[in-house]
Amino acid sequence: MVTGSPMRRYLLSALTLVVFTAIFVLPFVFVLLQAMKTRQEAALLQFSLPTEVVLWDNIVQVFQARDYMLVTAFINSTILTVASVTLMVVFAAMVGYVLQRRLTRWTGFINFLVLAGLIIPPAVVPTIWVLQGLGLFRTLTGLIFIEVAFGLSFSVLLFRAFMSTIPRQLDEAAVIDGAGPIRTFFQVVFPLMRSVAVTVIVVQSVQVFNDFVHPLYFLPGDENATVQLTLYNFQSQFEAQYNLLFADILLITIPPLLMFIFFNKKIVAGMTAGAVKG
């Protein structure tokens, strides 16, 4: 849309670049700087280069804090993310597949339930009540299923939208060849959904890994903290120790950063595809 002389365009580009970098990147630079400083220097909250770089010390200290709580938290978060996203992908793909292919008088109702999952805020205390009844409250297993339940809707929408781009003939051919529904789905259809599956995996991993609210409600207690909760706990504990607090932020930003570097296109493509078509 920007037209005009190359010179003007060049200037405008440079200006935009500077402004955007300032707005969107400087805060992260601030995190890095804070994480490198000593306790006293970080307490000043100044946007300045550290006079003495103690990044490594800070990281070690954060890991050691509370009996290596952060290590436990990374393990918990990894288990949580891997398990819940795996279940989510398989369950949602199965639903998306049948939902798009088989039209019955229930289809409308199921679509409604899927949308309801996007809109309705989960009822917290009753959910705890149900979890307690099942003996799953304050367990990682319970939280895994919670994440699955709350992430299903979005995943189903993506899979359903993608199914409409896969020709029906393919699965019909498989059926004619005598394949049962399970084989048809897992050997013929699911591989075709690979690209959307990767999208769901990436998007939901980021979502689950960054989730704060559900661990806060459903998995309280320091001994089974997730990484987001460590940040929250350290916020009160490291009152005056901004260096450690920001070192923690830095550490827990690394996984999404890696995701972003490797799957940037996938995330963007998937999020928008699902969002726009769905």
């Binding site: 920007v2 935009t16 597949y97 009822a123 205390v125 299923f145 529904p181």
Partner: protein
């Protein structure tokens, strides 16, 4: 049968037990005085409380402010950024990444980060304002401002998603439309308003609905940055729900959930219906 209904089963069990059942249960529990040890049916007392107690009413009104303003800001800024980032500008790839990255960072992390940046005296933002001679406000400590400061950070964090959705919408507009309009002598503004905006309507609808749902349900950013404070001034329904839960007022907390449920549905469902209907007309 190639498409067996039991494929629904695993999802249905998890979803039914952990989402639908609690949602229905909440209608009952919201009518009780419920502690860990017992519960007592008290009718609509909790709801009366919710609409009477000033501290709870604040949460209600703040939610109705926060949701719409973050949503509108994301629509407007998202579209403008998307236009910019689909133009011939240099360094597009970098810019898109930079704008999108905050979407992927933990909300709590962002909250703590900005809490430090927005510190009234030592924070980097007010120091920078100080350099140009402006006496920066207490972003999070001024009761009139706290909610809006959090909303600002929300937009900062979430505008990347809106932008990316708009970019997808923009690139799917056939160039001929815009070129045809240009040939007809339409000005840049006319092309934008009469061609681009209508044609990215699906993207607009998505952004509005997604950000409105997110905005009305928002909790983690507010909790990380202000805990609803100073006092109750930046409480939203979700933070009220959490506080009542903490205090052990489970019935009241659940009533808050029902109120939130009603508000979100009453706003989002008709809006989505209306937006989709208008979409068909084009």
């Amino acid at each position: 049968m190639a498409y067996p209904a039991w494929f629904y089963l695993p999802a249905a069990v998890v979803y039914g037990v952990l989402f639908i059942a609690p949602t229905f249960a909440s209608f009952y529990f919201s009518l009780t005085r419920w502690s860990l040890f017992d519960q007592e049916f008290i009718g609509f007392g909790n709801f009366v409380q919710f609409f009477q107690e000033p501290a709870l009413v604040t949460g209600l009104t703040n939610t109705l402010i926060y949701g719409p303003i973050t949503s509108v800001a994301k629509v407007v800024l998202g579209l403008l950024l998307a236009l910019l980032l689909t133009s011939q500008i240099q360094g597009r790839g970098w810019l898109r990444s930079v704008v999108f990255f905050p979407v992927l960072v933990s909300t709590i992390g962002v909250g703590i980060m900005f809490q430090a940046l927005m510190d009234p005296r030592d924070g980097a933002i007010n120091r920078m304002l100080g350099v140009v001679g402006i006496n920066g406000p207490g972003w999070l400590t001024n009761p009139d401002l706290a909610l809006y400061s959090v909303a600002l950070v929300d937009v900062w964090k979430g505008v990347g998603l809106a932008t990316v959705i708009y970019i997808a919408g923009l690139v799917s507009i056939p160039r001929e439309y815009i070129e045809a309009a240009a040939v007809d002598g339409a000005s840049a503004w006319q092309r934008f308003w009469h061609v681009t905006v209508p044609l990215v309507r699906p993207a607009t609808n998505t952004v509005i609905i997604l950000s409105l749902i997110g905005g009305l349900r928002t909790f983690d950013l507010i909790w990380a940055m202000t805990r609803g404070g100073p006092g109750f001034t930046s409480d939203v329904i979700a933070s009220v729900i959490y506080k009542q839960y903490q205090a052990g007022f489970y019935g009241l907390s659940t009533a808050g959930n029902v109120v939130l449920f009603v508000i979100v549905s009453a706003i989002v469902v008709p809006l989505a219906w209306w937006l989709n209907r208008r979409q068909v007309e084009y």
